[in-house]
Symmetry: D2
Subunit: 341 residues, 4 copies
């Protein structure tokens, strides 16, 4: 039996997932799509032979839909998620969970009341084979006690709509979750360093690059270079320094070329290229969990809430340059120490 998916939000990422369900995903069919722009909804409904909706809540409650897939903008996530929980339907939500930690808290409470994890959050990096191999190296103990991490998050460029705060809320957000995933402990402080020098490739309102420094409960120090106009590629680096050994992500290049340019390996040019496998696997995981009926195991509402708390502190530090502590509330029993993927 296939899972019937209702997908909300037909922007770039929504259409990408629509295509993914058609071509890659097993045991699921998109049966309904929803967008406030009825023209877009109708056109894609015809192309994909599915039922169009223009009101998300109506679609969430429709009998056509077993599970909800949210690709709408952040500010409407809360209402849609709460409706899905009320309907007892599993829900996948693209990040962020909500724009602020306070809104996320309401979702936590609704899910706890429901008594079962219904939500998987779109932190696709947890499904990347590279990060999973890093986590395994840490887990086996071959690195010894972890002391430091060096991360870099480099984009070739960003659109004009990209704001300074998005360096935290949209870019660093991925490292914030993956630090938690890899180390299995919370971040307790954040400090944003603004180097005096910025790239001339960045728009005037941006400060690029930035360095964000995190500290975890046990004292691991992580620095994260955010460089969103690096020009040369979409380049994600992660180096985990342990007492005994150090493990890092590679570029995972498929081929190597010897030419007049020297010995060369390809670097990914976009998020979609770099994390293609991870996107496929996170969505299949969601479908598999829905089919199993036994509750979600991927990135949770709690994970999204924790990230929102760290981002709030990061934005504060972006403004005043100081180190900000993050206070972590008690974790409800519903959320395992770390959600497994």
């Amino acid at each position: 039996m296939s899972v019937n998916i209702g997908l909300i939000g037909l922007g770039m990422i929504g259409r990408d997932h629509l295509q993914r369900f058609k071509q890659v995903i097993n045991n699921a069919n998109v049966t309904a799509i929803c967008d406030i722009n009825s023209g877009v909804a109708n056109a894609l409904a015809q192309e994909y032979n599915v039922t169009p909706f223009y009101d998300a809540i109506e679609m969430i409650n429709s009998e056509l839909v077993d599970a909800v897939f949210i690709c709408s903008i952040g500010p409407v996530h809360k209402e849609q998620i709460l409706a899905a929980i009320k309907a007892g339907k599993p829900v996948f939500c693209e990040k962020p969970l909500t724009p602020t930690a306070i809104d996320a808290r309401e979702i936590i409470e609704a899910e706890v009341s429901y008594g079962k994890r219904l939500l998987q959050l779109g932190f696709m990096r947890r499904f990347d084979p590279g990060y999973q191999a890093l986590k395994q190296s840490i887990g086996t103990g071959e690195l010894g006690e972890i002391l430091l991490m060096h991360c870099a998050h480099r984009n070739p460029s960003v659109p004009e709509s990209y704001t300074l705060e998005m360096a935290i809320n949209d870019s660093a957000t991925h490292e914030i979750d993956i630090i938690h995933y890899l180390l299995n402990e919370n971040i307790v402080s954040v400090r944003v360093d603004k180097p005096r020098k910025k790239t001339s490739r960045a728009l005037g309102h941006l400060q690029d690059p930035l360095i964000v420094i995190f500290e975890t409960e046990s004292g691991v120090r992580i620095d994260d270079e955010l460089f969103v106009n690096c020009h040369y590629g979409y380049d994600i680096r992660c180096e985990v320094i342990g007492e005994n050994a150090i493990a890092s992500l590679t570029e995972q290049a498929l081929t190597v070329t010897r030419s007049a340019n020297g010995v060369g390996r390809h670097i990914a040019q976009s998020c979609m290229e770099r994390f293609a496998t991870a996107y496929d696997r996170e969505v299949q995981n969601f479908v598999d969990r829905v089919k199993s009926g036994s509750g979600m195991t991927g990135p949770s509402s709690w994970d999204g809430y924790l990230v929102a708390l760290v981002c709030d502190a990061g934005i504060a530090s972006l403004n005043d340059g100081l180190k900000h502590d993050v206070t972590i509330p008690a974790r409800p029993a519903l959320y395992q120490p770390l959600s497994e993927s």
Copy 2:
């Protein structure tokens, strides 16, 4: 609508595909399985909730089955493939197509008579992202005219049942097809060099390593090191030397470690590990083509026949040490210059 698959042969590779259909493959369900060992067939039929058969021809003709998936031993492939063609049902067949080129010829004739490509052969390497990237480099012309290739096919070890001829028929067979795939031209001669020195890790009846030298129609020279007791890993190398540049496969390692052993990257330990993605993608491709109804596009009967012709020459060279030419018959119109994957 899902494709109903009938799978023949429940040995190691058959069970592996059975699991793959359940967990990974989209738009297909195994509905029937067949093995001459009724105990095995019954047990797996119960586990997977499918119908057991003990006679392949009966299953091929059953209404339960839209498409046939052959994982039986080589000598029975011809009969099963011919039955599928007679029934007009698409058929995936694990390599080899048939043990000899003469048998393969009968399949070609049957498929040509039927008038449409019904068969996809299990040359999974064509679906490996690494080989596809190599093919793309060749195709763009960035390497210039291709002159040479250096290949290596290294296994950690082989079972006692592995014979000297299997170095050609089971190991080199993959390079034979991939040379054709990458260069888009036929191999016209083969010579097997038996170095005087062999590894003490090989069983007494083997000559290991071997070097096989191929030549293509246009004169590209390829050497292939077959080293099936190399001990350290399952290591597939391919370097394509062009007038302008050289491209090679990498090990595609996900992480790199700095430890008391130096800077280290993982090497795959088995065929299943190295080509995991390729196996998944070849089977999904088969299912997608069946669903589309418009004929197969993956490795064809003709590709299998060509490989069988080269293997025949390789076995002859293994016996007398001389260079043997391969005579390529005229290609029926049904088979495109090169099947696309």
Copy 3:
């Protein structure tokens, strides 16, 4: 005509240089050696067939000596250097120039009064082919404007005598000079971050690892991981992030091995191994400059003074955790904008 060298201080580094003069260095002979321990001086004088001295000033003024090579401990450097300058003899001095910036200042004044550069300081990294290639990449402009640097200075282990301050004065000192060398501008602030977590491999009085953050005049931000009990090797990393491209040091491994440990490359195990070529080249450069008679061009007294100023600020930050500014006095005309090597 060979240069006659008088070498002071017969500890580990002194003996290493003695051997180097004998085996590697062109156009120079050690003719006199000096150590306060007369037994050591006599024994080595006999072995190398040179004249022993027990008083450094006496040896510096001896007619046997054209140029002075100081390998004694830091606190006596000033007296010996001033004596060499007074005698008008070229002098090579192992780092540090002096233990404090104030003492260094006296040397600057003496050399300026003399009117010609007589001193080369032992910052051997400037003679490393890797750092020179990095400097060349920066110089050609292919990286674009430099924005950030990430450095790491990792030792397998340190002796019990290693103090917390030595992480700045002995380890970071090399990055401090090399930042100046690579970027051709001064460091203007230092902050030492002490991560809460330290390696259990470090002795109790150490805080290991440390992160030091430098800022240059133009605003380049550099972080330097000092990890002196990293266990796995002597591993020096340097990554220079520009607007257009990023360049990093490699491990410069000579061979790569495929074995049951995977694909592996060697990492140097000591400073002497990693910088073997650099040590040879810095000493030959000194001799060549002495022979040429036209003044020193390698790392200068001024470079040593600048490093001492930054180290003073670093020690202050190590104590209070705050960012400390470095005030750079006016550069005497004697010292070029950047000494060339």
Copy 4:
């Protein structure tokens, strides 16, 4: 005491060594130079302040000269070497020892009669840190018994004067000696494969690339790709396949760059760049042995004779395409099983 060197032949390599003696080499001075072109000899004699000669034999016998350095063309090597041996003066000779094995034989006999090794041959690769590390890996036994080697000798391009035979006598000659050096055993057969396809970058009289296949006494099989118009760089590859592990040369790149071209490493563009260190070290080794007075230890006349024998067989195979055996005469006691470097 410095060694007084008389250098014969002031072409490109002769001038390069002249410069090397001036700038790099320890304990030696060029005191005399000789060229049949008196204008060239006079001009360089003035520039380097040395005595010019126009007759090699006269210079060899001059009191100005302690040791002879031969950079003249191959056909005159025999006469000059024999003169040096007669004069009892150590002699360095650029490869080839002589154009044919028969001529080399005369030198062997003269040196054996003299009773002491006086000659070092210019096989500089033995002094390359990369090949030395490979030899060490083989020597420690970590690779296990050696079974195969894959070599490649790639030049960006060759001058019009380069003949087909030079692929053997000038290019493969280096691999022939290094195989002997690495494996410590003789080559006993050679076969040259001429691929049908050649690069359009090669001049019409050349067959480029070629593949040469060697076999050693114990049965190690080596293939050597000679590609002298590869266009992209001077790229020397060597992979040694053992029962337990495989070791290969790296490109020894100093830095790695991340740019719009991907992740890139430099490849050497010429022999002089790739083997800069090796050239310096071979000449210093010669000088050190002359000073020690105890006979040469680098590549010997015997090594040159062995290479000449293999080249003779290679030229024969180049003409008829067949495998040619190499008969190795008994080694005189003067020549150690393998000359050490």
